[in-house]
Symmetry: D3
Subunit: 325 residues, 6 copies
């Protein structure tokens, strides 16, 4: 998607120009993984015009392999972001209908060829929500991946503007049997999966119960992860990350930070978890790594987490440095 952001916290009705950045759920994860040194590949469908060309350039700049991206009819989805400040919330105006990706069909992709030498496939719940054919394409991708022994990662990422809870539930139930790493929060359990939550327990205990119940039902699951965010103010949030490995819920420290750009914070956490899993890091470190990565994202303009491993490790180790001049 093309993101158009008025400069300097202006509202759209004030703006005489827009900053243009390019992003999207899976793209954010893939580019962040590239920043961490992984070989990555993007799968999508883009319009056959200069905007499609630009998205390819943007992904290429991270070193992402874009050779399997399909080009065709339709638009590039756009969203207009008014960045919040003080007591004014951020506001997003979507203009994503009739996008090329939403019109993609199974015929556009040769999964056998595409998935050669692939170790992990990541899917965001936004994609099946975009259209019926994408619902189908998404499921098929996951099934083919699974049949080849490829790790499957799924981020629920529920968007009420795109589909109903019923549709989300239907897809979730179809996809979960194929998933290795699931990104699901308490609200997903309550609203989409309709699980019961005991009111008496604290947040971590609730989450542990829910993950345990889920892992019993879907023994294919290896990891489940989510974050808890406290909105201290529009300009300052706190974040804690959780990773369940089937037995224990690992929690990160709580990070509190001023915000430069909040969009993409969730995708950065996802990329952090996947990095840790792929690198076979110590499980309790993975939660901390991913939360640090997400906290750092809030200091980066655009949706994509343009920080490298050194920066994440610096935050993990010692927090803010005291660089003087």
């Amino acid at each position: 998607m093309l993101r158009l952001t008025p400069t300097n916290f202006q509202r759209v009705i004030q703006a005489e120009s827009f900053e243009a950045t390019y992003a999207g759920g899976e793209a954010n994860v893939v580019c962040s993984l590239s920043m961490f040194g992984h070989d990555t590949k993007m799968l999508t469908k883009l319009p056959q015009n200069v905007l499609g060309d630009k998205v390819i350039r943007a992904m290429n700049s991270f070193g992402v392999d874009t050779k399997d991206i399909v080009r065709g009819k339709g638009r590039l989805g756009i969203y207009f972001l008014e960045q919040g400040h003080g007591v004014r919330n951020s506001d997003v105006t979507y203009d994503r209908e009739y996008s090329a990706i939403s019109m993609a069909t199974l015929e556009d992709f040769d999964f056998d060829e595409i998935l050669k030498d692939v170790k992990l496939v990541h899917l965001s719940g936004v994609t099946p929500a975009l259209s019926k054919n994408l619902y189908e394409v998404s499921l098929e991708l996951v099934k083919v991946a699974k049949s080849k022994g490829i790790l499957v990662s799924y981020d629920s990422n529920y968007r009420s503007k795109l589909w109903t809870l019923e549709q989300a539930r239907s897809f979730m139930l179809e996809v979960l049997p194929y998933v290795d790493i699931a990104f699901l929060g308490i609200l997903d359990f309550i609203n989409i999966l309709e699980y019961q939550v005991s009111a008496e327990k604290n947040y971590e205990a609730k989450l542990t119960d829910l993950y345990r119940e889920l892992f019993e039902k879907y023994p294919n699951l290896k990891y489940a992860a989510s974050t808890k965010r406290a909105v201290n103010s529009v300009n300052n949030n706190s974040l804690q990350g959780y990773l369940f490995d089937g037995k224990i819920l690992h929690s990160s420290r709580i990070h509190t930070f001023d915000i430069l750009d909040r969009v993409g914070g969730g995708d950065s956490f996802t990329a952090g978890i996947l990095h840790g899993v792929l690198k076979e890091m110590n499980t309790s470190l993975i939660a901390e790594f991913a939360t640090c990565a997400s906290a750092l994202k809030h200091s980066i303009r655009g949706d994509i987490n343009m920080v490298d491993l050194h920066q994440v490790h610096t935050l993990m180790d010692c927090g803010i440095e005291n660089i003087n001049r």
Copy 2:
């Protein structure tokens, strides 16, 4: 429409930001007429979001009456403009499908109410080309206007990306009996109306013949006008304007000029003709006024001709001033 232009002659694939301006065929004409001191009103349908709000603000800033603008579902049309330079042509990428205006229907407008105290209605051929319902709405508007004795102005403005020559011909034949002021060039006669042109005559003689033939067939016509453009280079053009009053073809001087922003040059000529007609200027002066207005537009950023009467008259009278400091 929202126009997104990369800064400093960049291509879209280079751009990290876009200048945002708001425009459209009829809007350009209406705003230019406001700059010339006329009371004006805009009729369109806009999405119920901040982009629609912004268009209203933009029109309001010219003093255009926006109270009859309808709000509803659909997008705001967008186009991306790469400004040409040297031997590189300008390039436009349209993203205008599924716009709110293209989905407007007769039910959206109460023409009886809207046309109260209106002296002239202007319609661009882009509008009926956008959708079947707009084809219908456009015709109805023109008919109601005519029935109330309101002057009707129609600019052919053929766009091959929007409709076929057959569709354009069909509309042209339906609308012409109601038109007072027609903006038609030689190519419109040949391609849309399928008139024959004698190869031996010079440009002005050909045009005179065609207009004369047209006025015989449609005695309702009062004026027909068009321009001839010579592209000396991407950065420098020459322009001559013509106005036929039923008897004589009045020609302007030829104006040659460097170009800051070419888009909207035609609409500026249209507004210039309408200003002259409404002000009952001497007919031969109208062609010169409109061509000067259009020449000046090429020195103004954005689609809309933000020059005032003083600037047009200065160019008509004495050309470029010698302001020294």
Copy 3:
């Protein structure tokens, strides 16, 4: 006035360019009321040059009726704003002498005509402070409005650079018998009206006493309002609003917020109160509405509060939203 602001918190001595916005006490109130959906009209005198044209465009963009604005000799007032940061205060350099408005006289305005169909007139104390003739014009406006049964709103807005306390007192005593809604804070009572304040009582009790005393003297008064600001730091303030309805002092919640642009915060509160009064909102809600509006202003660039009703109501209802992506 034209406000020239160096970009990115620079000082004027660093600046190579200025952001240009257009504003002024009454203009800020009028434009904010337009954002809230009211039909509004501006009364002022502007220079007959492009700067005057630009101010008209700026007001028009909000949908404000500018047809009664007078044009003539004199300058457009300018002020240069250095935005403070950290421990550095904001700094304003005024360049407003010899402005067209300061030279306006009674002959410039036909109040009978101008005030037709008007429901409320708002006047800021800055205006009579600008010149002797404006003192006269302001009083006459208020008297004619009153004679026609129009609501009169007056904001004390004392500026020591423009007039002495004696002059301000003189005007205040002359205007108060005609005022329905008065914007007066504790300092206005002490310094201008020379009321006594009992040191023992808390802020709200003092204010209640003062308003009660005032309303006894001027039974024409319907509402009095003011705010209390705590400057936590240059970048962060707290604000509480008060509205006295003749009987009770209604207080808003205390809002604490980071600041993007502080100028115009008072005018936004004023517009919020006037909106509530015109819409006949529940009195206790009006204080909250106005304070929320003012708090939101601090997140908007420029002097004018470009937020809409939805944004104010969101802040009234639930505070900062938790929009994640």
Copy 4:
């Protein structure tokens, strides 16, 4: 003065920001002389605020001695420049009334002290035109300079917005007996000095006659100089410079150039002549040097000619270089 220029050839009514540069007739000459390596000093009166501070910084950056600049009441003069393009002329809106300099009096300056070790004093006709006291101050400065054997340079620089032809004539007649180097064009002779011009002769012959006549009347004169400009288009001019040494009129080549910023072209020619005179260059070279300097100015943003000796000599010697990469 502060010059405020909308970016990218916009009109003031379009502009959301202004480029800020600082300049003025004598300041432009003085700074250009500094770029050419001369020790220079500026004499003026500036307001006691950040704008005055900024002007001092701007002059200092060229190495100009600013210690004798007086600070006091009044404004900094401002002008708004719309840069022309294509067939649209440049347009200047002055806002220079009530400036600090216009209120300066003889008491502000101790000429004896100020003129110590000074070799040349330059005065522009704009200065005595600003106010009666400046008329007086200017004359006194010139007289004291002359009495100390300092070279006096005077540039007529007639501005019809500032004074009448009669006032300009009065000053010219008073100042000429003290002038060594006079910058006067044919129009100054005709309009201000009311000399007769023989219609039959060509431009250079006319100019020679006029200068000869003037030098006979004022034997104190050492040099007279002026330029002839042909406006090929708003974006392209041709320029020829003339220098009369009492005997011969030396002409430069004709330079034709595209224009980036035309303001200050005349002051750059003046500085070029003064440089040549101070460096005792070959007289015929001085005219070429000054015209090259002026031609180069048109390629520099802002009023001040920020080119160095190397660049002027390159243009004198060989024209445009063929730098390839």
Copy 5:
């Protein structure tokens, strides 16, 4: 290299910011070939810091394979570009000493591995000029490439600031026996190779003679190419391209164009020739293609020719289009 360009034709002494682009002789050729659809790979050495990272991102964005780029000690070369205008020449300030690439040695590269599946190697004369070790590395690269039957392209690109004519001659004589495609102009023949030129013949005849003589001496040569540039003004040049195929000198049309950014014009011609050769285009078309590509480059910001095949073919076919709106 990092190119730092003051915005809007400013001089470095005026600039408060720089546009940053990344480029270099071979990089420009390689990126242009990527824009034309070729698989490309870059070979260089970059510093181990964020500037090196940024260069890799920039090359990646074109889809260039950057995996063989070596990282190590040293700087990233920088150059400051003042863009000329009117009669002011462009001016380049180099800051390229001690760059990482200039310190690269044979040990840094495993040519056997690097040249697998490579069809063509391109080398610019700037590279061996940077240091003794690069002289050595360059020769070795060419020899290994030749031994593997890979096409070798060499662009003389003489820079007097980097090495003497003797050093350039020495390298030229060593490298020519391995070259298939040589980019050499008349000045290279005269100054570096010390060939004699008959003064009587016209430009094309001279060039044909020189190329014929060269091809007799080096029968390995397949193509030689060069351009002739006429500097009409700093802002407008004319360009003609030549390609010699061993028998005939093919000439392009003469293209005249306004200039947005002249740097990289030569590299764009080189890329055009290589594209034609690799695509086995008709020889006479190759010269036209390459010259059109180079002409288009002058309309693109930055050193790299960001135009695609469609744009080059449009210029080859029909020149400037007449896109109206």
Copy 6:
């Protein structure tokens, strides 16, 4: 040095442009003293190119005397600054090798001439760290100054990237016998001078002990000063300043502030101390003045503290003002 900063908190790998400011340890101190009204002079060596010219312009703009600056071979040092935000640290990439200053030798400077009428010389430890010859030049400067009875100020400013602790110790021991005002913190005592610190005492007691010990060894010392910084977050720090006068350690209040630009905070403290000493302020006020100056610096873009005396005194007296509008 030239500092290149990506705009809006971007990382270098994101940046398409850089803000350019010019600074350096001693330059920052000297310019800040100019802002406080002192006559100042800069001593350094700059490259003979436009970058050197620009540095001179930048220093001149503050009114600093630049006539003794030497020009010659070598580069201008550059550093790239990524401004930190939230939990992301600031990051500096130095590119300062082979600078003109690092190659300066004793022959470049005539200290006898340069130090005429000088009252105080300030040296930063960065300078002797740059090269062996600068080590020598620095020592000689200090010795000559001392021999002339000029006050000598030395700021340790240890940079581990430039020299080892041993080298720093060697210089410190050589220079201290000539120093009047020493800027040394606790870490300098421990790491460079290898003093012992008693772990039981609090910070101020430790510092007093260390300063006392130092003053006993070097009875030439008049003042020693340092600051303690608490990094509350990347965007918010607290600062306390200390000044030892041989007897008492004077402490400032603790100032806590949001940060716009942290670089140069230390140099601003130094300038504040030197101002107080030169103005013979009350000793306890000097510490407060310098700490206020440093706190204010964090609100100013660029390395140089562009605040004036009025702003420092405002912060000393009453903190943040309550300027409303």
